[in-house]
Amino acid sequence: MARVKTYVRPMRGWWRRNPYYVRYMIREASSVFLAIYTVILLVGLFRLTQGEAAWDAWRAALANPGSIVFHWLALLTVGYHAYTWWKVAPKTAPDVRIAGRPLPELVITAGGLLATLGTSALVYVIVRWM
């Protein structure tokens, strides 16, 4: 049967037409970087089970300039994900009310960002000194 040629609106490059969609795509792209980073961690865990030489080889591979560039890109995009996560938190969080009034959106977002900063400082202290 012959296919009916109906007009299909071209969607190629749709997200480049509006800065809001560009930010949306950057946020979604962070998941690709996060997935690759997690696989790198998983490989590290595998190398750890193989012994000290394998572990040191994994660490040496991470010092490769290409790896450093990848991790900077991952840090920027996943950092942006973290920001957007707290930015939408007022809409996704349970409805907390104090004296009958909902928490101001700014308080929820700022609280989340502070939680990320606090957790980051804690992880840094543990990795470095404990």
Binding site: S30, L34, F70, L75, T116, T119, V127
Partner: protein, 118 residues
């Protein structure tokens, strides 16, 4: 009506999104940037004996499994739903591949955390 499986994957996506919003930037910064270039992080911080001790402790195992598993479930959920945005209209196969790979990563991590010893 058939019950939707979406709440399960949405919960894992949400848990991974929360955990990654809290710790992913600092983990990437430490393991991928400052430790390899030796800035603000001494060489012995990620020494074999130290990381091995962490992976052999029950709390270390729990944290490593949570990070790897939830990061993966978060990421594949976004990638799977993002396919539509780039013009790929994925079906059930892509869905199985996406969540299946996150499940596989979780099982591999669990296996490695057992084989690394206690």
């Amino acid at each position: 009506m058939k019950r939707s499986n979406e709440p399960i994957f949405w919960s894992l996506f949400g848990a991974g999104g929360m955990l990654s919003a809290l710790v992913a930037p600092i983990l990437i910064f430490i393991t991928g940037i400052i430790a390899p270039i030796g800035l603000w992080m001494p060489e012995q911080a990620l020494a074999y004996s130290r990381v091995l001790g962490f992976a052999q402790h029950w709390l270390g195992k729990l944290l490593l499994l949570a990070v790897i598993s939830l990061f993966l479930f978060h990421a594949v959920h976004r990638i799977y739903h993002g396919l539509h945005d780039i013009g790929v209209h994925a079906g059930t196969g892509a869905m199985v591949a996406a969540y299946g790979s996150a499940l596989l990563g979780t099982l591999i991590a669990a296996y490695l955390l057992i084989s690394v010893g206690f």
